[in-house]
């Protein structure tokens, strides 16, 4: 199957206070129609910046996409003229942001915020757009949508606002949804509601979803494939089953050993990854994970960044020592 979106060697940098921060440093991945791809990593690993780069939402200054391609159905979004990008963004590719409290405009009614995209992209009249808005609001599980349309964001709870955000993302029947930490600000019972809803609706609409999250549990429950990011690069990618069952990068293994599991019967001591993520402004050669890695040695890993190699069909790892990394039984 042809990839719906293909990111090739994308680099995004931020120029601040005389320093260059390499937030995204040569990231490549692709997503196929209808699948759910998770991008997982800790704060500052570049997972959100990658999504914002795809959407063309990197503010200049200080940020700039310095290289690479973002191919949507074979056409490069980065070199396309702004008007054509506008035709795709919001209509065919839409985004759900993390903060339901700050991503809605507090002085516009829910109707206005929902119908703006439809009116500009689908050429509907005000009345048709309102009908469409009612339809989508009831699909995302908001009771009494007719009345709710005339209300303002402050009259909605956090979970309800996130439903509105999802409705906004779905209203133009997108082919691809970028969900950036869609449930991080929500309570777990609401998180379960929202994620189940997103999965169900993306299946119904046949839309692919890129789920950006730091929560390894959420990834395990909802994703088909997983990309693990560290310090601006993808360090491992494979199917969810493979990543959790047979992690081959020391960082992936370290992450899995760091999370307490709800189903642990006997208490095990957590095995944290020592140290901290590197400063993205410093230019050190070699593997970025080396200072925290228990497998690495400066001889092998300190010179060049390890290339991505396919160690098993569909399982790519950027590590010189991946043959030594095994899950403890």
């Amino acid at each position: 199957m042809a990839a719906l979106l293909e990111i090739k060697d994308l680099s995004t940098r931020f120029y601040t206070q005389g320093r260059v921060i390499k937030a995204v440093d040569g990231v490549s991945y692709s997503i196929e129609p209808g699948e759910t791809l998770a991008v997982v990593g800790e704060s500052g690993c570049g997972k959100s910046v990658t999504a914002l780069s795809v959407m063309g939402l990197i503010p200049w200054p200080p940020g700039k996409i310095t290289g690479g391609q973002v191919l949507y159905r074979g056409k490069d979004l980065l070199t396309m003229d702004p008007e054509s990008v506008r035709q795709i963004r919001g209509k065919e590719i839409s985004m759900v942001f993390q903060e339901p409290m700050t991503s809605l405009n507090p002085v516009l009614t829910i109707e206005r915020q929902l119908t703006e995209t439809v009116e500009s992209h689908l050429d509907m009249t005000r009345e048709q757009a309102r009908q469409r808005a009612v339809e989508v609001l009831s699909q995302v599980g908001i009771p009494d949508p007719e009345r709710r349309l005339d209300q303002y964001p402050h009259q909605f709870s956090g979970g309800m606002r996130q439903r509105v955000m999802i409705a906004m993302a779905l209203i133009c029947n997108p082919h691809l949804i970028l969900a950036d930490e869609p449930t991080t600000a929500l309570d777990v019972t609401i998180q379960a509601q929202i994620l189940a809803l997103m999965k169900e609706l993306s299946a119904e609409y046949g839309a692919a979803m890129i789920l950006i999250t730091h929560n390894l549990g959420v990834v395990a429950r909802y994703a088909d494939r997983v990309n693990v990011m560290y310090a601006g690069r993808i360090i491992e990618r494979s199917t969810a089953k493979e990543i959790y069952g047979n992690p081959k990068h020391p960082y992936t293994l370290g992450l899995l050993n760091s999370v307490p599991r709800l189903d642990e019967i006997e208490k095990k001591k957590l095995e944290p990854i020592e140290g901290q993520p590197p400063d993205l402004g410093s230019d050190t050669p070699g593997c970025r994970f080396l200072p925290r890695c228990v497998y690495g040695d400066p001889e092998t890993c300190g010179k060049d960044f390890p290339p991505q190699t396919e160690i098993l069909p569909g399982h790519w790892v950027a590590c010189y020592k991946s043959d030594q990394v095994h899950v403890k039984q």
């Binding site: 704060s43 309570d187 549990g217 909802y222 599991r261 019967i265 208490k267």
Partner: protein
């Protein structure tokens, strides 16, 4: 609506801390000059529990369930509306400020946000050393600095960090400073209010291990408040599940997972995703309908009845008592022992 009887609060006299029938109602006022009270937010509504010396009691629940307010009442940062907080045999709700000063040395707190809980204009050394200095534990500046360095290394930080300011530190380092500050008074009891929630997983694991090591070393007692059930279960000996100002269920940490008796606990457990796609694919997922009602106008009877899958008429009419349904397993549910609930428990177990 009937008042729940105060029968058999889960406590016994040997505990380090006992909380009995604690209520914390916040008044809701209207008007600017002539304020009148138009309602109450029942943040904590008649809860009782105890914590033994050296153990960790986890307190888990969603936003607005009253877990943080409970912690603040124990610290006497808010004076409770009614109820008793008995620390080392004495009811500290009756203490005046002078008497509290001594208690505050023994009860410390670690806050959630490592960014806002440290004074940006104080050096790390001042932040950690302020307590011992004020209470006269360290007599001179050099003695104070030695103490600060000792505390820094206990918290796993380099000792030369004392002259730095909080903005120079990472999130994990700041949380370690918060821990060093809590330890500075040699406390016996620490309230950890979402102490690891703001941290990334790899750093979170470091801090969890540090808290466990310190507990072993100093015989500390923790009240560990958090919304992340996996973390709470991992750290705690016993866990209390709160919902809308009430404790729904309290039992030891393993039993809470294997035999959750309250329908809310069951839903909460099933809502938390486990980081293993194979396990997740086979698990039963209970998706609760609706949202947590407003504590300003809580539902009658059992506060959970609006979202409960097994609620019946009695749940709307009567507040369930918090009873010891099995040894050391306290549940506030009319149907805790019913067949349908038992069937749910069995299903969760097999899944």
């Amino acid at each position: 609506m009937t008042e729940p009887s105060a029968s058999s609060p889960p406590s016994y006299s040997g505990a380090l801390l006992r909380v009995e029938n604690l209520k914390m109602y916040f008044p809701v006022t209207q008007g600017i000059v002539f304020q009148k009270v138009v309602g109450e937010v029942k943040a904590v509504d008649n809860i009782s529990f105890f914590i033994n010396q050296g153990e960790t009691l986890g307190m888990v629940g969603e936003s607005g369930c009253g877990k943080t307010t409970t912690g603040r009442c124990i610290l006497q940062l808010t004076r409770p509306t009614s109820g008793q907080i008995i620390f080392e045999g004495e009811d500290i709700t009756r203490f005046n400020e002078e008497q509290m000063r001594d208690v505050r040395k023994k009860i410390q707190v670690i806050f959630q946000d490592p960014y806002s809980s440290l004074n940006p204009r104080m050096t790390v050394g001042d932040i950690i050393g302020e307590g011992p200095m004020v209470h006269g534990i360290t007599k001179s500046k050099t003695e104070n600095l030695d103490r600060v360095k000792e505390l820094l290394s206990l918290a796993g930080l380099p000792t030369n960090l004392h002259s730095r300011y909080p903005h120079e530190l990472s999130g994990g380092q700041r949380q370690r400073v918060g821990i060093a500050r809590a330890l500075s008074m040699n406390p016996s009891f620490i309230v950890c209010d979402e102490a690891v929630s703001a941290l990334d997983v790899s750093i979170q694991a470091q801090i969890i291990n540090l808290l466990e090591d310190l507990q072993d070393k100093f015989g500390l007692t923790y009240l560990f408040i958090a919304h992340d059930l996996s973390v709470v279960r991992h750290l705690s000996d016993r866990v209390a599940v709160m919902y809308l100002g009430h404790i729904a269920e309290l039992s030891d940490s393993l039993r809470l997972y294997t035999e959750p008796m309250h329908p809310y606990t069951q839903a909460l457990l099933s809502a938390v995703p486990i980081p293993d796609p194979v396990v997740e694919a086979e698990r039963e997922h209970i998706i609760l309908q609706g949202e947590v009602p407003s504590p300003l106008n809580p539902p009658s009877g059992c506060v959970f009845h609006t979202r409960c899958p097994i609620a019946t008429e009695i749940c709307i009419a009567e507040i369930p008592q918090f009873l010891e349904q099995k040894p050391n397993h306290w549940v506030a549910c009319h149907h805790a022992l019913s067949d349908s609930n038992q069937a749910n428990i069995d299903q969760l177990k097999s899944g």
